[in-house]
Symmetry: C2
Subunit: 291 residues, 2 copies
């Protein structure tokens, strides 16, 4: 049986690790705050008090952490995954981080005899709980196949998108499109309402045409109601858009709307609305319009 | 039998008028350039040499013209529709124009005893030919019902979105969302390629999630191939985005991404690419990125 070490039992990592347990894997879970480890033990997992304990003798080690520096330290640090894992183990980072950091970790891991995949996710907390995540995987094909049963216990759509870092690149593109599409719908709703047009009727008329999108179908109704319960918090999307803009600069690509959407999301967070859903961009459009 | 006068037999109006003939309506067609009238006669329509001839004694008069001033002159001018039509006729403008102009025409028409609807369309040349257009209708409910059989001969999705001008407002919102979504996909494709990720694989991975959209599904494949055959020409979308930005300003609404997309579309046209499909925004992203 595949033995898994899971590091980072947060909003996403917690239910993902629990789904691995449910699927029959032997999972040792570690988290900096031990309260989350205890919750994982209640869900049937094995608690680990240290990184070393979570990693030692495991076939697969998964991280699901907040940001690039966290993952880099956890992978490469003196008390990190590569320092404690057995040779030949497969390291899978499922956090959303810089593509450049993912490539650096892959190179360092391979040099020390580990398999390495970057496998960021989309689908939100609900997708993590219901094991319906989309998983965008970068790395060697052989290692992706090894990991596939593990991914299938957590997600529904598993796509190998390219070599090391490609998963993170596709995730960044995903966050670009989502942010821009949300902002477009926010602007359209405020524009419609300012012209006394019922936005729900209008959205129904627009959904079947080229303006149709998952954002318009799934998120516009709660935006019209001003229900900004997350969902996916603005502060997390803000972090992902900082990754996007840095990665675009690294690659020498100019992304005018991606950059503008990143600034608007940052403004939303700066105004204290970072805990709201990312669709709260609508609030910002209203404020900018004095409404 | 409903007698229709159809003014403006261009790329959209030509096939729309022909579909009315096919559906059994008695249609008199007028166009400034008579060559298009001749083509309409070949399609079974009745040719009109003057506006007066197209309009006199008709139950319904439809215009499908390039821009706001054309429609305003055609509706209100000395040799226009209201000057020649019989009292009680229903005037339907299917052009894409300023919501404010649509409201002005509706008010003037009603004062003179006419019914007036604004009914802009989306779905492109193909939708016009195949009678699968989406029609967004502003005006009185009773008149919308009178016009419904006429609309059904030209389109598939007919939605009454509100009072006079509402059709144009919804069309402007449609053009906002389409332009922004196209630009987002253009930025994502260039970003993916610059990072050596195959965009087709990535697009397949993204389509099922919140980044999914009609643009991603229907337009991204030809964008990846750099096939910019129209479709919907950039210069027409540019015109529609000028309507959007003016209407947003009229309504006091700030639309940061809508405005940015309008500027990018204008830049594309300024560079001489106005005859290409609006998805040629991708070319602009590549130029801005020195690729």
């Amino acid at each position: 049986m595949t033995k898994i070490g899971f590091i980072g039992l947060g909003i996403m990592g917690g239910p993902m690790a629990a789904n691995l347990v449910k699927a029959g894997f032997d999972v040792a879970g570690y988290n900096r705050s031990q309260a989350k480890v205890e919750r994982f033990v209640e869900a049937g997992g094995t608690g680990a008090a240290t990184v070393a304990e979570a990693v030692r003798d495991r076939d697969v080690i998964i991280t699901c952490l907040p940001d690039s520096p966290d993952v880099e330290e956890m992978a490469l640090g003196d008390d990190g995954v590569f320092a404690h894992a057995r040779e030949g183990a497969l390291f899978i980072d499922m956090s959303t981080i810089q593509p450049a950091t993912a490539r650096k970790i892959a190179e360092a891991g391979r040099a020390r005899g580990f398999g390495v995949l970057d496998a960021p996710i989309s689908g939100g907390e609900r997708g993590a709980i219901e094991a319906t995540l989309s998983i965008m995987v970068g790395g060697e094909g052989v290692e992706v196949e090894t990991a596939r049963p593990v991914f299938e216990a957590m997600g529904k759509t598993i796509v190998h998108v390219g070599p090391a870092g490609a998963g993170q690149t596709v995730k960044a593109a995903n966050q670009l499109i989502c942010a821009v599409n949300i902002q477009a719908v926010a602007e359209a709703i405020v524009f419609l309402e300012a012209n006394s047009v019922d936005p729900t009727t209008a959205i129904n008329a627009l959904s079947g045409g080229l303006a149709g999108s998952a954002v318009l179908e799934r998120r516009a109704p709660s935006m019209v109601e001003r229900n900004f319960q997350p969902g996916f918090r603005a502060e997390l999307h803000d972090k992902d858009l900082r990754i996007l803009t840095a990665a675009a600069r690294d690659a020498g690509v100019t992304i005018p709307l991606g950059t503008a959407a990143a600034q608007l999301m940052a403004a939303l967070v700066a105004q204290g609305d970072g805990k709201l859903d990312n669709t709260a961009l609508l609030k910002l459009v209203e404020e900018l319009s004095g409404r």
